[in-house]
Protein backbone atom coordinates (compact mmCIF):
# COMPACT_ATOMS: atom_id res chain seq x y z
CA UNK A 1 0.00 0.00 0.00
CA UNK A 2 1.28 3.46 -0.83
CA UNK A 3 -1.25 5.06 1.45
CA UNK A 4 -3.09 3.60 4.41
CA UNK A 5 -4.88 6.39 6.22
CA UNK A 6 -7.60 6.30 8.85
CA UNK A 7 -7.50 9.68 10.57
CA UNK A 8 -9.74 11.92 12.59
CA UNK A 9 -8.50 15.50 12.67
CA UNK A 10 -9.73 18.99 13.32
CA UNK A 11 -9.91 21.48 10.47
CA UNK A 12 -11.29 24.86 11.44
CA UNK A 13 -14.34 24.29 13.61
CA UNK A 14 -15.16 20.85 12.25
CA UNK A 15 -13.87 17.37 12.88
CA UNK A 16 -13.03 15.38 9.75
CA UNK A 17 -12.65 11.71 9.13
CA UNK A 18 -10.57 10.32 6.31
CA UNK A 19 -10.23 6.66 5.41
CA UNK A 20 -8.39 5.40 2.37
CA UNK A 21 -6.05 2.54 1.52
CA UNK A 22 -4.63 2.49 -1.95
CA UNK A 23 -1.62 1.16 -3.84
CA UNK A 24 -1.75 4.19 -6.16
CA UNK A 25 1.50 6.14 -5.98
CA UNK A 26 -0.16 9.49 -6.50
CA UNK A 27 -3.21 10.31 -4.43
CA UNK A 28 -5.25 13.37 -5.30
CA UNK A 29 -7.19 15.16 -2.55
CA UNK A 30 -10.03 17.28 -3.91
CA UNK A 31 -12.81 19.35 -2.43
CA UNK A 32 -13.99 22.93 -1.94
CA UNK A 33 -11.94 25.37 0.07
CA UNK A 34 -12.46 24.84 3.78
CA UNK A 35 -12.88 21.10 3.30
CA UNK A 36 -9.74 20.43 5.32
CA UNK A 37 -7.31 19.55 2.54
CA UNK A 38 -4.36 21.55 3.84
CA UNK A 39 -5.08 20.43 7.41
CA UNK A 40 -4.82 16.83 6.21
CA UNK A 41 -1.42 17.54 4.64
CA UNK A 42 -0.30 19.21 7.88
CA UNK A 43 -1.32 16.05 9.75
CA UNK A 44 0.73 13.92 7.35
CA UNK A 45 3.75 16.24 7.60
CA UNK A 46 3.65 16.15 11.41
CA UNK A 47 2.82 19.85 11.75
CA UNK A 48 -0.61 19.16 13.22
CA UNK A 49 -1.58 16.35 15.54
CA UNK A 50 -4.60 14.30 14.46
CA UNK A 51 -7.24 13.61 17.11
CA UNK A 52 -7.18 9.87 16.51
CA UNK A 53 -6.38 7.16 14.02
CA UNK A 54 -3.31 6.08 12.12
CA UNK A 55 -1.40 6.88 8.97
CA UNK A 56 1.13 4.86 7.01
CA UNK A 57 2.75 6.03 3.80
CA UNK A 58 4.86 3.67 1.71
CA UNK A 59 4.19 1.00 4.40
CA UNK A 60 5.94 3.13 7.05
CA UNK A 61 3.82 4.10 10.05
CA UNK A 62 4.17 7.84 10.67
CA UNK A 63 1.29 8.18 13.12
CA UNK A 64 -0.65 5.69 15.19
CA UNK A 65 -2.59 7.00 18.16
CA UNK A 66 -3.20 3.45 19.45
CA UNK A 67 0.45 2.40 19.28
CA UNK A 68 1.74 5.76 20.49
CA UNK A 69 3.57 6.50 17.22
CA UNK A 70 3.87 10.18 16.27
CA UNK A 71 7.04 10.91 14.31
CA UNK A 72 8.26 14.52 14.52
CA UNK A 73 8.27 16.46 11.22
CA UNK A 74 12.01 15.98 10.72
CA UNK A 75 11.59 12.24 11.19
CA UNK A 76 8.77 11.95 8.64
CA UNK A 77 10.70 13.54 5.82
CA UNK A 78 7.76 14.92 3.93
CA UNK A 79 8.65 16.86 0.82
CA UNK A 80 6.02 19.49 1.50
CA UNK A 81 5.39 22.08 -1.21
CA UNK A 82 3.30 24.60 0.70
CA UNK A 83 0.61 26.58 -1.04
CA UNK A 84 2.26 29.74 0.35
CA UNK A 85 5.71 28.42 -0.61
CA UNK A 86 7.44 29.54 2.60
CA UNK A 87 10.83 30.19 1.05
CA UNK A 88 13.31 31.44 3.63
CA UNK A 89 13.55 35.21 3.02
CA UNK A 90 17.08 35.62 4.37
CA UNK A 91 18.63 32.93 2.17
CA UNK A 92 19.39 32.96 -1.54
CA UNK A 93 17.55 30.56 -3.84
CA UNK A 94 20.66 28.37 -3.85
CA UNK A 95 20.71 28.13 -0.06
CA UNK A 96 16.94 27.60 0.06
CA UNK A 97 17.38 24.64 -2.29
CA UNK A 98 20.26 23.27 -0.23
CA UNK A 99 18.49 23.69 3.13
CA UNK A 100 17.03 20.19 3.29
CA UNK A 101 19.78 18.30 1.46
CA UNK A 102 20.65 15.47 3.83
CA UNK A 103 24.20 15.46 5.10
CA UNK A 104 26.21 14.70 8.16
CA UNK A 105 26.34 11.68 10.37
CA UNK A 106 22.66 11.10 10.86
CA UNK A 107 21.64 11.33 7.21
CA UNK A 108 19.12 8.64 6.30
CA UNK A 109 19.95 5.94 3.79
CA UNK A 110 19.17 7.25 0.34
CA UNK A 111 18.03 5.75 -2.92
CA UNK A 112 21.05 5.75 -5.20
CA UNK A 113 19.41 7.29 -8.25
CA UNK A 114 17.84 10.31 -6.58
CA UNK A 115 18.24 13.44 -8.74
CA UNK A 116 20.99 15.74 -7.51
CA UNK A 117 21.21 19.51 -7.38
CA UNK A 118 22.16 19.90 -11.05
CA UNK A 119 19.40 17.71 -12.37
CA UNK A 120 16.70 19.27 -10.21
CA UNK A 121 17.87 22.74 -11.20
CA UNK A 122 17.68 21.72 -14.85
CA UNK A 123 14.29 20.00 -14.59
CA UNK A 124 12.80 23.08 -12.91
CA UNK A 125 14.81 25.61 -14.90
CA UNK A 126 16.27 27.17 -11.74
CA UNK A 127 19.71 28.05 -13.11
CA UNK A 128 19.11 31.78 -13.59
CA UNK A 129 17.50 32.15 -10.16
CA UNK A 130 20.18 30.65 -7.93
CA UNK A 131 21.74 33.84 -6.59
CA UNK A 132 18.51 35.76 -6.13
CA UNK A 133 16.53 36.36 -2.95
CA UNK A 134 13.00 34.98 -2.61
CA UNK A 135 11.57 38.51 -2.45
CA UNK A 136 12.66 39.15 -6.04
CA UNK A 137 10.97 36.06 -7.53
CA UNK A 138 7.65 35.94 -9.37
CA UNK A 139 4.94 33.58 -8.12
CA UNK A 140 5.80 30.94 -10.71
CA UNK A 141 9.52 31.13 -9.99
CA UNK A 142 8.98 30.88 -6.23
CA UNK A 143 6.76 27.84 -6.82
CA UNK A 144 9.48 26.10 -8.80
CA UNK A 145 12.04 26.84 -6.09
CA UNK A 146 9.67 25.44 -3.45
CA UNK A 147 9.23 22.26 -5.49
CA UNK A 148 12.99 21.95 -5.99
CA UNK A 149 13.68 22.50 -2.29
CA UNK A 150 11.23 19.73 -1.36
CA UNK A 151 12.66 17.29 -3.93
CA UNK A 152 16.26 17.94 -2.88
CA UNK A 153 15.47 17.08 0.75
CA UNK A 154 15.09 13.50 -0.57
CA UNK A 155 11.69 13.06 1.00
CA UNK A 156 10.07 9.74 1.81
CA UNK A 157 6.86 11.14 0.29
CA UNK A 158 5.68 14.34 -1.38
CA UNK A 159 2.88 16.67 -0.33
CA UNK A 160 1.88 19.10 -3.09
CA UNK A 161 -0.63 21.69 -1.94
CA UNK A 162 -2.23 23.31 -4.99
CA UNK A 163 1.05 23.54 -6.87
CA UNK A 164 -0.59 25.42 -9.75
CA UNK A 165 -2.59 27.90 -7.68
CA UNK A 166 -2.32 31.56 -8.68
CA UNK A 167 -0.36 30.82 -11.87
CA UNK A 168 -1.61 32.09 -15.21
CA UNK A 169 -2.58 29.35 -17.71
CA UNK A 170 0.71 29.36 -19.65
CA UNK A 171 2.84 29.20 -16.47
CA UNK A 172 0.50 26.61 -14.95
CA UNK A 173 0.95 24.39 -18.01
CA UNK A 174 4.72 24.72 -17.83
CA UNK A 175 4.85 24.07 -14.08
CA UNK A 176 2.49 21.11 -14.56
CA UNK A 177 4.84 19.58 -17.14
CA UNK A 178 7.74 20.01 -14.71
CA UNK A 179 5.83 18.38 -11.88
CA UNK A 180 4.95 15.49 -14.18
CA UNK A 181 8.61 15.02 -15.08
CA UNK A 182 9.68 15.23 -11.44
CA UNK A 183 7.14 12.77 -10.04
CA UNK A 184 7.94 10.38 -12.88
CA UNK A 185 11.63 10.73 -12.01
CA UNK A 186 11.34 10.13 -8.25
CA UNK A 187 9.36 7.09 -7.24
CA UNK A 188 7.99 8.11 -3.86
CA UNK A 189 4.31 8.34 -2.94
CA UNK A 190 2.80 11.77 -3.45
CA UNK A 191 -0.35 13.55 -2.27
CA UNK A 192 -1.63 16.19 -4.64
CA UNK A 193 -4.19 18.72 -3.43
CA UNK A 194 -5.92 20.29 -6.38
CA UNK A 195 -9.04 21.98 -7.64
CA UNK A 196 -8.23 21.23 -11.23
CA UNK A 197 -9.80 18.11 -12.70
CA UNK A 198 -7.40 18.07 -15.59
CA UNK A 199 -4.40 18.07 -13.27
CA UNK A 200 -5.92 15.30 -11.16
CA UNK A 201 -6.71 13.13 -14.17
CA UNK A 202 -3.27 13.55 -15.64
CA UNK A 203 -1.37 12.63 -12.50
CA UNK A 204 -3.33 10.80 -9.84
CA UNK A 205 -3.97 7.08 -9.54
CA UNK A 206 -6.54 7.53 -6.77
CA UNK A 207 -8.78 10.35 -5.62
CA UNK A 208 -9.84 11.22 -2.10
CA UNK A 209 -12.74 13.68 -2.23
CA UNK A 210 -13.33 15.79 0.88
CA UNK A 211 -16.70 17.45 1.33
Amino acid sequence: MSFDLALTYRAGEREREVTIATPARILAVTGPSGAGKTSLLDCLAGLRRPLAGRAAIGSRAIFDAGAGIDLPPEGRRAGYVFQDMRLFPHLTVRRNLAYGVPGGRRAPALPADWPGFGEVARLLDLGPLLDRRPATLSGGEARRVAIGRAILSRPAFLLLDEPLASLDPARAERTMAMIERIVARVTVPAVLVSHEEREVERLAGAVLPLA
Binding site: A45, G46, L47, P72, P73, E74, R76, R77, A78, G79, Y80, F82, D84, M85, R86, L87, F88, P89, H90, Y99, G100, P102, R133, P134, A135, L137, A142, R149, A150, S153
Partner: protein, 230 residues
Protein backbone atom coordinates in the same frame (compact mmCIF):
# COMPACT_ATOMS: atom_id res chain seq x y z
CA UNK B 1 41.12 68.02 27.00
CA UNK B 2 40.02 65.39 29.49
CA UNK B 3 41.83 64.71 32.73
CA UNK B 4 43.12 61.20 33.51
CA UNK B 5 40.37 60.88 36.13
CA UNK B 6 37.74 61.67 33.51
CA UNK B 7 39.18 59.13 31.10
CA UNK B 8 39.03 56.61 33.91
CA UNK B 9 35.36 57.36 34.44
CA UNK B 10 34.62 56.88 30.74
CA UNK B 11 36.64 53.67 30.55
CA UNK B 12 34.89 52.29 33.61
CA UNK B 13 31.45 53.22 32.22
CA UNK B 14 32.18 51.44 28.94
CA UNK B 15 33.54 48.38 30.72
CA UNK B 16 30.54 48.19 33.06
CA UNK B 17 28.04 48.61 30.21
CA UNK B 18 29.75 46.20 27.80
CA UNK B 19 30.09 43.51 30.46
CA UNK B 20 26.46 44.09 31.47
CA UNK B 21 25.34 43.65 27.84
CA UNK B 22 27.45 40.54 27.23
CA UNK B 23 26.14 38.91 30.39
CA UNK B 24 22.52 39.94 29.88
CA UNK B 25 22.19 39.16 26.15
CA UNK B 26 21.73 35.35 26.38
CA UNK B 27 19.31 35.68 29.31
CA UNK B 28 17.34 38.46 27.60
CA UNK B 29 17.03 36.49 24.35
CA UNK B 30 16.02 33.31 26.17
CA UNK B 31 13.35 35.21 28.11
CA UNK B 32 12.16 36.94 24.93
CA UNK B 33 11.89 33.59 23.15
CA UNK B 34 10.00 32.00 26.06
CA UNK B 35 7.55 34.91 26.23
CA UNK B 36 7.11 35.05 22.43
CA UNK B 37 6.83 31.36 21.61
CA UNK B 38 5.85 29.34 24.64
CA UNK B 39 2.78 28.96 26.78
CA UNK B 40 3.41 27.82 30.32
CA UNK B 41 1.97 28.30 33.78
CA UNK B 42 3.32 31.46 35.40
CA UNK B 43 3.99 33.20 32.09
CA UNK B 44 2.13 36.34 33.21
CA UNK B 45 4.14 36.36 36.42
CA UNK B 46 7.45 35.96 34.57
CA UNK B 47 6.48 38.77 32.19
CA UNK B 48 5.70 41.02 35.16
CA UNK B 49 8.93 40.08 36.91
CA UNK B 50 11.01 40.92 33.84
CA UNK B 51 9.31 44.31 33.61
CA UNK B 52 9.66 45.10 37.30
CA UNK B 53 12.90 47.12 37.02
CA UNK B 54 11.18 49.32 34.45
CA UNK B 55 8.38 50.36 36.79
CA UNK B 56 9.71 50.32 40.35
CA UNK B 57 12.04 53.08 41.59
CA UNK B 58 15.66 52.25 40.67
CA UNK B 59 16.66 52.79 44.30
CA UNK B 60 14.33 49.96 45.26
CA UNK B 61 15.86 47.72 42.59
CA UNK B 62 19.29 48.54 44.03
CA UNK B 63 18.10 47.74 47.52
CA UNK B 64 16.61 44.42 46.38
CA UNK B 65 19.93 43.58 44.70
CA UNK B 66 21.69 44.39 47.94
CA UNK B 67 19.35 42.05 49.82
CA UNK B 68 19.96 39.21 47.36
CA UNK B 69 23.57 39.75 46.26
CA UNK B 70 25.02 41.51 49.28
CA UNK B 71 27.58 39.57 51.30
CA UNK B 72 24.85 38.37 53.66
CA UNK B 73 22.18 37.88 50.99
CA UNK B 74 21.35 34.34 49.86
CA UNK B 75 22.91 34.63 46.40
CA UNK B 76 25.77 36.85 47.54
CA UNK B 77 26.76 34.48 50.33
CA UNK B 78 26.69 31.56 47.90
CA UNK B 79 28.89 33.38 45.35
CA UNK B 80 31.27 34.43 48.09
CA UNK B 81 31.62 30.89 49.43
CA UNK B 82 31.80 29.15 46.05
CA UNK B 83 33.98 31.56 44.06
CA UNK B 84 35.17 34.15 46.55
CA UNK B 85 33.19 36.57 44.40
CA UNK B 86 31.70 39.72 45.88
CA UNK B 87 29.48 41.91 43.73
CA UNK B 88 28.35 44.62 46.13
CA UNK B 89 30.62 47.71 46.13
CA UNK B 90 32.55 46.26 43.19
CA UNK B 91 32.49 47.19 39.50
CA UNK B 92 30.94 43.83 38.64
CA UNK B 93 28.09 44.87 40.94
CA UNK B 94 27.66 48.04 38.90
CA UNK B 95 27.49 45.81 35.80
CA UNK B 96 24.86 43.64 37.48
CA UNK B 97 22.76 46.67 38.39
CA UNK B 98 23.09 48.04 34.85
CA UNK B 99 22.17 44.66 33.34
CA UNK B 100 19.09 44.26 35.53
CA UNK B 101 17.90 47.77 34.69
CA UNK B 102 18.47 47.18 30.96
CA UNK B 103 16.87 43.73 30.87
CA UNK B 104 13.23 44.79 30.35
CA UNK B 105 14.09 47.04 27.41
CA UNK B 106 16.16 44.30 25.80
CA UNK B 107 13.51 41.63 26.31
CA UNK B 108 10.81 43.89 24.83
CA UNK B 109 12.75 44.62 21.64
CA UNK B 110 13.81 41.00 21.17
CA UNK B 111 10.38 39.60 21.93
CA UNK B 112 8.76 41.76 19.26
CA UNK B 113 11.27 40.65 16.64
CA UNK B 114 10.85 36.97 17.54
CA UNK B 115 7.08 37.30 17.33
CA UNK B 116 7.53 38.83 13.88
CA UNK B 117 9.31 35.70 12.60
CA UNK B 118 6.70 33.71 10.68
CA UNK B 119 6.17 30.38 12.44
CA UNK B 120 5.22 28.86 9.11
CA UNK B 121 8.85 29.25 8.06
CA UNK B 122 9.94 27.32 11.13
CA UNK B 123 7.41 24.59 10.27
CA UNK B 124 8.79 24.47 6.72
CA UNK B 125 12.31 24.03 8.07
CA UNK B 126 11.14 21.12 10.22
CA UNK B 127 9.59 19.31 7.23
CA UNK B 128 12.93 19.72 5.46
CA UNK B 129 14.57 17.64 8.16
CA UNK B 130 15.68 20.33 10.59
CA UNK B 131 15.50 19.55 14.30
CA UNK B 132 13.91 22.14 16.61
CA UNK B 133 17.37 23.42 17.45
CA UNK B 134 18.56 23.68 13.84
CA UNK B 135 15.31 25.41 12.82
CA UNK B 136 15.85 27.90 15.64
CA UNK B 137 19.49 28.46 14.74
CA UNK B 138 18.96 28.86 11.00
CA UNK B 139 15.54 30.55 10.83
CA UNK B 140 14.36 32.20 14.05
CA UNK B 141 17.73 33.49 15.21
CA UNK B 142 18.90 35.19 11.97
CA UNK B 143 15.44 36.59 11.21
CA UNK B 144 15.20 38.13 14.69
CA UNK B 145 18.69 39.65 14.43
CA UNK B 146 17.46 43.25 13.96
CA UNK B 147 15.59 42.97 17.25
CA UNK B 148 18.66 41.59 18.98
CA UNK B 149 20.72 44.55 17.77
CA UNK B 150 18.03 47.05 18.69
CA UNK B 151 17.71 45.48 22.14
CA UNK B 152 21.46 45.55 22.67
CA UNK B 153 21.78 49.21 21.79
CA UNK B 154 18.77 50.22 23.87
CA UNK B 155 20.20 48.22 26.75
CA UNK B 156 23.65 49.73 26.29
CA UNK B 157 22.27 53.28 26.36
CA UNK B 158 20.23 52.43 29.43
CA UNK B 159 23.32 50.90 31.10
CA UNK B 160 25.52 53.92 30.47
CA UNK B 161 22.84 56.10 32.07
CA UNK B 162 22.13 53.83 35.04
CA UNK B 163 22.24 55.73 38.34
CA UNK B 164 19.83 54.81 41.12
CA UNK B 165 20.29 51.07 41.36
CA UNK B 166 24.06 51.40 40.89
CA UNK B 167 24.63 53.95 43.66
CA UNK B 168 22.44 51.92 46.01
CA UNK B 169 23.92 48.51 45.29
CA UNK B 170 27.50 49.26 44.25
CA UNK B 171 27.96 52.66 45.92
CA UNK B 172 29.96 55.58 44.52
CA UNK B 173 33.57 54.44 44.74
CA UNK B 174 36.05 56.35 42.56
CA UNK B 175 37.74 54.07 40.04
CA UNK B 176 35.57 51.15 41.05
CA UNK B 177 31.87 51.96 40.68
CA UNK B 178 31.84 55.68 39.87
CA UNK B 179 30.44 55.55 36.33
CA UNK B 180 29.54 58.60 34.20
CA UNK B 181 26.23 59.50 35.86
CA UNK B 182 27.70 58.98 39.33
CA UNK B 183 30.72 61.10 38.45
CA UNK B 184 28.49 63.88 37.12
CA UNK B 185 26.38 63.73 40.28
CA UNK B 186 29.51 63.89 42.44
CA UNK B 187 30.93 66.83 40.51
CA UNK B 188 27.63 68.69 40.88
CA UNK B 189 28.13 68.49 44.66
CA UNK B 190 31.69 69.83 44.36
CA UNK B 191 32.35 73.57 44.18
CA UNK B 192 33.98 74.47 40.86
CA UNK B 193 33.01 71.25 39.14
CA UNK B 194 30.87 72.89 36.45
CA UNK B 195 33.38 72.64 33.62
CA UNK B 196 33.99 68.96 34.26
CA UNK B 197 30.22 68.37 34.49
CA UNK B 198 29.80 69.94 31.06
CA UNK B 199 32.54 67.76 29.55
CA UNK B 200 31.21 64.52 31.04
CA UNK B 201 27.60 65.36 30.19
CA UNK B 202 28.65 65.96 26.60
CA UNK B 203 30.44 62.60 26.53
CA UNK B 204 27.33 60.87 27.91
CA UNK B 205 25.15 62.43 25.23
CA UNK B 206 27.65 61.56 22.47
CA UNK B 207 27.92 57.95 23.65
CA UNK B 208 24.15 57.51 23.58
CA UNK B 209 23.85 59.16 20.18
CA UNK B 210 26.62 57.00 18.75
CA UNK B 211 24.92 53.87 20.07
CA UNK B 212 21.61 54.94 18.58
CA UNK B 213 23.12 55.68 15.18
CA UNK B 214 25.06 52.40 15.18
CA UNK B 215 21.86 50.51 15.87
CA UNK B 216 19.95 52.32 13.10
CA UNK B 217 22.72 51.44 10.69
CA UNK B 218 22.91 47.80 11.78
CA UNK B 219 19.16 47.30 11.70
CA UNK B 220 18.90 48.89 8.27
CA UNK B 221 21.69 46.70 6.96
CA UNK B 222 20.08 43.57 8.38
CA UNK B 223 16.68 44.54 6.98
CA UNK B 224 18.15 45.25 3.55
CA UNK B 225 19.71 41.81 3.48
CA UNK B 226 16.48 40.02 4.17
CA UNK B 227 13.73 42.07 2.56
CA UNK B 228 10.73 39.99 3.46
CA UNK B 229 7.98 39.09 1.01
CA UNK B 230 7.34 35.50 -0.06
Amino acid sequence: MLSPAEWEVIGLSLRVSLVAMAATLPLAYALAWLLARRRFPGKVLLDALVHLPLVIPPVVTGWLLLLAFGRNGPVGALLDRAFGLSLAFHWTGAALAAGVMALPLMVRAMRLSIEAVDRRLVAAARTLGASRWRAFRTITLPLSLPGILAGLVLGFARSVGEFGATITFAANIPGETRTLPLAIYTLLQTPGGEAAVTRLALIAVLLSLAALMASEWLVRRAAGRQAHVV
